[in-house]
Every structure is written in structure tokens, then in C-alpha cells.
Symmetry: C2
Subunit: 501 residues, 2 copies
Amino acid sequence: MDRVIEITELALRDAHQSLIATRLGIEDMIGACEDLDKAGYWSIECWGGATYDACIRFLNEDPWVRLRTFKELMPNTPLQMLLRGQNLLGYRHYQDEVVDRFVQKSAENGIDVFRVFDALNDLRNLERSVQAVKRCGKHAQVAISYTISPIHTTQNFIDQARRLMDMGCDSVCIKDMAALIKPQDAYDLVKGIKESCGNQLRVHLHVHATSGVTMVSLMKACEAGVDGVDTAVSSMSLGPGHNPTESFSEMLANTGFTTRIELPRVLRVRDHFAKVLPRYSEFLSTFTGVDTDIFMSQIPGGMLSNMESQLKQQGAADRIHEVMEEIPLVKKDTGYVPLVTPTSQIVGTQAVLNILMGRYKVVTGEFADLMLGYYGAAPGERNPEVVERARQHAKKDPIDCRPADLLEPEWGKLRAEALPLEGCDGSDEDVLTYALFPQVAPKFFAARHEGPRNLGRDPVTGASETVVPEGHPGRITGPVTYTVTLSGQQHKVTVAPYGQE
Amino acid sequence: MDRVIEITELALRDAHQSLIATRLGIEDMIGACEDLDKAGYWSIECWGGATYDACIRFLNEDPWVRLRTFKELMPNTPLQMLLRGQNLLGYRHYQDEVVDRFVQKSAENGIDVFRVFDALNDLRNLERSVQAVKRCGKHAQVAISYTISPIHTTQNFIDQARRLMDMGCDSVCIKDMAALIKPQDAYDLVKGIKESCGNQLRVHLHVHATSGVTMVSLMKACEAGVDGVDTAVSSMSLGPGHNPTESFSEMLANTGFTTRIELPRVLRVRDHFAKVLPRYSEFLSTFTGVDTDIFMSQIPGGMLSNMESQLKQQGAADRIHEVMEEIPLVKKDTGYVPLVTPTSQIVGTQAVLNILMGRYKVVTGEFADLMLGYYGAAPGERNPEVVERARQHAKKDPIDCRPADLLEPEWGKLRAEALPLEGCDGSDEDVLTYALFPQVAPKFFAARHEGPRNLGRDPVTGASETVVPEGHPGRITGPVTYTVTLSGQQHKVTVAPYGQE
């Protein structure tokens, strides 16, 4: 009997978040739902992460309506979300009652599997949401942010998994968002966790495909006893995204492992998205190959492009290599935080400032908070000199309690602020939308009645969109240079009346 | 001590043949040669396959000059070529003396490793070139065309390898041009050959990346004892091409295997081609993802696109699925020939004709030759009814001897025909060029003095090239639709004077 490796399909959440900046609209997903639901997945990740933000900011979609739509169309397969622990889906810590209510509403509206993570792997930032999930009778999975550092040893991660099991998690997921995990490391880590935690604890592995080695890491994880892996249908895979579902399933032939997915159904899902994706070419990541710089730098690709654009804005694009050398030093000063949202942005921005202004001459508020414990406990020892510098800059003292313990009850206040907003329907769901995105929610509530705004475009229309300079004469008499955006890349196209080139 | 897995770098031959239709010009390779030579590769594949044809047909480059240039710039690493056995680099069988002379001249001009293959895996088509290589004191590697069929069992391939060793080959290569080989099959095959042939025979594995599973097959091949693998630097990898060199090397960390390559040098080669490749966007394969149809159809991607364009020309594009179902039947009738140049084209075209005209109502001359033994012995039993049909069509009797045995000595005649051609320099190399490509050689000899024609273009120039309709007025007064070719894809762009859209 072959051992079954379960699959979580990422097409509806992380895949489009990674490939087209989370812009996929609900109407472009609906057509795939029946096949997704019946294909034999362990779960379908379809909510959370950046999708909530994108729904209200860009798509005029109510994320709760989206979730209920999924539940209606996919009643047979567990629906999964990504939750940033005490941050929920927002960018600050929330008081426990807000966490409880958010989890409860998510469960009521359709989420079956909650994948919870914390950038710092601080258990105290995870505990409350895990308890809330358990109270709803749902599956609580904690994702351990994977990173490479002198203190992030295999044993360290194994101990962490053990503590998560003791906390009551139903499963752990190793979350390798930067595609850093190499085959043998994946093997050792999965093997170690399985040996330490036994069959009580499911182990899943989430990898991106970016470095070109992680499909092999998935294979070695199977050999080590992994219970589930994350993949995305091939038309929504690779580059900054994930490994292709069909290829994963097929590669297991004769290995003693198998999956439960039905290939013909998955191929139909693939064909659906193969047609849909070109409609979002404007948002498509320009990077589609393999990034092998990460083997030298260990800096996630997305972080690098962020820093590049920051440097460019400062007219200092040529200093990227200095910044790349600064990052490991800044990371070390923080006590080796994993580089994942939001720590990747915080560390990256500080590294840019260090190079442009002098080391820690200017410290961002976020970096100061990170150094002073306001995001949680660091994995290792923080540099005390930099902590002191942060204290001076921020005029705050370091803390070592759980950050959310400093918060006063806030649900009543949030509710009082949300309810009077134009278009707010008074539901807890709306209050949560306001709680998570207080700047964006008012505009969304007011415009919600207009219905979803689909940002996909017919490829030909998209291709012919040109920017005509303002104040351009009504008749073209000389060469005109247009900027044509195709597949996310800008091209200068000069069009001249015939004979004038 | 880690076991060393040797690497053959494909950037200079199969990679650009797969990705940009073999159009890479010598001047765009020169800058990478020093790093390639010093990076620690076992060999650098840089000649043969379709490059000879492309040199004289498209690039006005003398392939022999190209080879000598490589030898001068890369004196330390063995240079490798791909040779189609008794077909050499042409499209027919050559008489043995031509084979001997071609191999001898290739060795003299710089080839150290000859990878020889035959589409049918007919040993009699390989013997003469292997002997010629050994006589020159060079490395004779025979590549076994990998395919999946009822008669192509693991044991069948192992027996083939054993026979190749007895023939005096220095190494065998499993050549999986369609990315069909799954991890466990790769493991079993390599393990079986190593066990059967011992350490006397090196085993290499050549895979394409197209199906998304072959990076894992490379890993399993390492575990099974493979001696060498083929990869391409990441900027010249994936899609219809190969797995990325840096990723392969890095994934071996802590596995007990290692490579001899120096990552910083390989990254410089990568950076070189990352700049070069966009200059060839016009030729770039539009397919860059993973093709998972092959798991159901086992039809190589390149073959499929050929048949699609044949059907389109006949206004029958909608019949592709019938053709796809016909292919396995035609393949079976041929005695399960592997689908690789030239059999993939022959079988594909016959399948198209079967669907359009009725099964075997029309038979191409090439298909008749294949059925009648003029390409060599079939791997399995041919369908006797189809053999009879072929005999009637071609008015030729089937043969069972080695096809080249039917050929009269031809070197003198080829030489006599080549020498009078304008621009022919009288060398054996020129006679060989004429022998291989009698239609193209005369034009090439005449134009050779003009020097290499580089088909790369600055991306911006390429992007702004528009097709202006002939007889277009000198002044644009209404909307004009241009066809803009970008990255090999055509887009219709309509430009209207401002206010007219």
C-alpha cells in the first residue's frame, strides 16, 4: 500500500498573491471551484494572507462574501486560510477579544483549516489564535517560519514543533517562503519532527519554487514522512510561486507514495487558470525563472526588489550590493529574525538607511519596535548597542512581555468607530474589516454596493493600451514614443508617420 | 568524502537550441567562455545537434571556425558534441568513409567527447561512429533515446547499455529529450546499469525540464550512482530547456554528493546570458512554464506544436485531439520507435495524414522508409499490414540489413561536387559541410566572406519594430493597427491620433 501524501492547493491564495500581486477576482475563480472541490485535495487555501486587503483595496469585493461563495461552491474540501497570529491579517497586534472574534467569524463563514504563523516564531503571538481555533472545533495548524541562521538549527525547529504540539496544534507546517530549504535539510527537519512528535502531529511543508531546488525538497520530505505538501496547478506555478501540482503528483509514481488527486480534474483547473492568467498580465511578476542569487545572499527575491526600488527613489540604485552585504549584519543585530512579512520589509528598509545615512544614524519606528520587543521575542540575542540606539530614537523602553498584553480591550471602541461609517452594515464582519484596515474600510463600505471590480482584461485590449502624452495635438505629425506595458514589463515604442523614422 | 557528480553544461548547444531555436551567435558566447572553461565542468556541450545547420543557414558562421574558437577560448575543459550516429548532423544515412572523416575532423578541430545517438537505438547505426571516435583517442559516449512503451522496460535499457559497453563505449547517457523520466524510473535505470556494467562504464543522465519532475529525477539518479548529469545555467534553463546548473549543484548540500563547479563563476556565466537572451526575444519559445499534458499523452511538447501548425495550415486545427489519440497507434505500428528527431516528425506527420485522409490512405516517403527498415531496425514488432501498405506506396522492398550497407562509397563524388562551388576552400571541412547540407552549403560558401550575421537585437529596437502597411500615406489621419512582436508573441496594437479612439 502506497503512503498517501496530502496536497493543499494554493491557486486561490498564495499562488496569485505571488504571481499577480493578489489581484485575482472572484469571478475568475468561480469556474474552477467544482473541479477543485472534487479533485481530492486535503485542503484548498483560498483566504487570508494579503487577499483580504486586496479585496477591499483593489477589487471592491467583500472578503466575507468571497469566503461564503467559496464555501458554497466547495462544500466537500476543507477551506484553508493564512493568519498572521496576533496580527490577524493587519499590520499591528490586536487585543485578544478581537483575535477571538475574528477566528470565530472566519470559522462561521467557512474556514476549516487555520494556518497561523508569526514572523518571529514567538509562541506567545500564536497561542491565543490557536486556542480560538480549537474552541471553534477547527483544525489549528501553526506554520514555523523557516530561515537559515547560526541559531536556527534543525534541533531548534524540532523543539519548536514539540512546543507547538504541547500547545494543542493539530499540525505544524514548515513555511519556506524564500525557497531556501534544500532537500537534505527538508529531510532532516521532517524526519526529526516526526521522530520527536510521533503520529500525533501532522507535518506539512510549504515551499516556493523560486530557487529551483524545492521540488526535490518535497520529494525528500515525502521520504522523511511528511503528511502534506503545498502546490499550485501548473498554470499558476513557478517563478516566485510554487511547485506544480500535477508534476508533484506524477513524480511519485512507483516511489511508494501517492496522492489522492484526480489528474483529469486538476488538468481542467489548470486549463481554467491558463486562460485567466493572461488577463492579469499587467500585474504579472516579471520574474518567471529561477533565482539562484539566494544561495549566496539568502535574501528573498521579493525583499531584494523592494530595496532596489527604495534605492532607485533615492537615486542610489548602484549601492544595492552594499545593501545586500548590510542585510546579514542587520539581521544578526535583530537576533536573527526570519525575513518574512513584516520583518523582511523592516530589516530591508533599515539596511537601506544604514547604507545611505550611516549605520543606525536613522532608525525607523518599525525597526525600533522590532529591537525593543514590540513585535515579540527575538529568536536569538539582540545587539544591546542597537537596542539602546532604538530606545533613544523611539523614546520607548524595551519590553519582554507578550506585546498584546499591553493592549486595552478595544472591540467596543472599534465597533463604535465602524458602525457610523457610510455603508457599514453593523455586522461583526464589517467591524473586523474596519479593525484590520481602518484607512481603507470607510471607502470600501461606501463603494461596496457597486459590486466587485474585476481587474482582469482581455489580453489584446491590455496589449494595445498606450499612454498618450497630455496636451498632445489632435493630429500626429512627428514620431511619438509610447510606453506599452506588456506582461508587466514596460517597453518604449516609438511610432512615426510612415517615412519619418 | 562526498561523491562527485560531474556536470555537462548545455548553455552553448542544447539550451539555446531548445529555447531560442539554435540562433545564438558566436559573438554572444565568447564573453562567457573563460568562466565556463574554469568553472569545473566535466564537459561543455557546444557543437553538433542543430547548431551546424543553424550556423550555415541562419548565422553565416562557419561551424568549424566556431569549434576552433571554442577550443582556443576553452582549452581546459573537454568540449562535447551531439552526433546522430550514421546520420552525422544531416538527415540521411552516410557511407562509412564520410562518417570516419567527419569524426576525425571534429576531433582535430576540438571535440573531446562525442555523444552519439540513434533515434531507433539501433546499435548498427552507432557502431561505425563509435569506432571512429575510439580511433581518434577521444571519449565515445552513446546516448540511449529514452521512451515509454510496453517493450521499453528497464531491463531492455539495461541490456542495451551492456551491449554498448561491449561495443567499447566509454560511457552511456540516458537521453530523455521529452522530460518523461520520473524519479523512481531514473533511479531504477541508473542503478540497474551500474549494477550490470560496474565501474567500467560511466553513466550520464540528460533530461529536459519541461514536465517539472526531472530535477527530482536527477537527485534520484545521484542516489542510484549516476556519474554525470546535464544542466544549463539558470538564465538559459527551464521551459523546453533543462534544469538550472546552480540549483542542481546547491541542492546536493549535505546529501553526500557534491560537484566540482565553482558557484561564483557559474553565476557570472548566468549573468552573461541573462543579458544576451533578451536580444533573441524574437526566437524565444513562447512556452516557459511546465507542460503537464505529457503525463497523459507522452507526446513531446515540440512534436505537439509541429502537428498543431500542420493542422492549422490545413484548416483543421480543431482535430488536434484526434491526432493526439492517433499518435500512440502509429507509434505502435512502427514497433514503438522513440519519438525524437527525426522519428517524432515522421510519426507526427503520418498521424496528421491518418486523421485528415483516412488511416494510411496516404503514406509519406519518410514513413514508408521507417516502416521498411531504411532508418534501421525497429525496437519491437512492426505491424505487417502497415509494412505492406508502405511497400505498395513506396514501391520498395523492406530491408533488414544496416541501412548504410546499401550505400556506395561517396566521398569522392561529394568532394567533386563541393570543390567547384563558389567560395569553397577545398578543405575536407568544406566537403563535409556540403555533404551534410547540399542545398544550403553553396549559398553559405558564396556568402561566407561577409562574416557572421548576428541575429540578436537590442530589446528596445526589437520592441519598437512595427509593420507599417505598404503604401501607407505619409501622414497618419486615422487609427493604424500595428503588429508588435515581443518575446516571440505577436500583439495587435492600434494607435490612433489623440481623440480618435
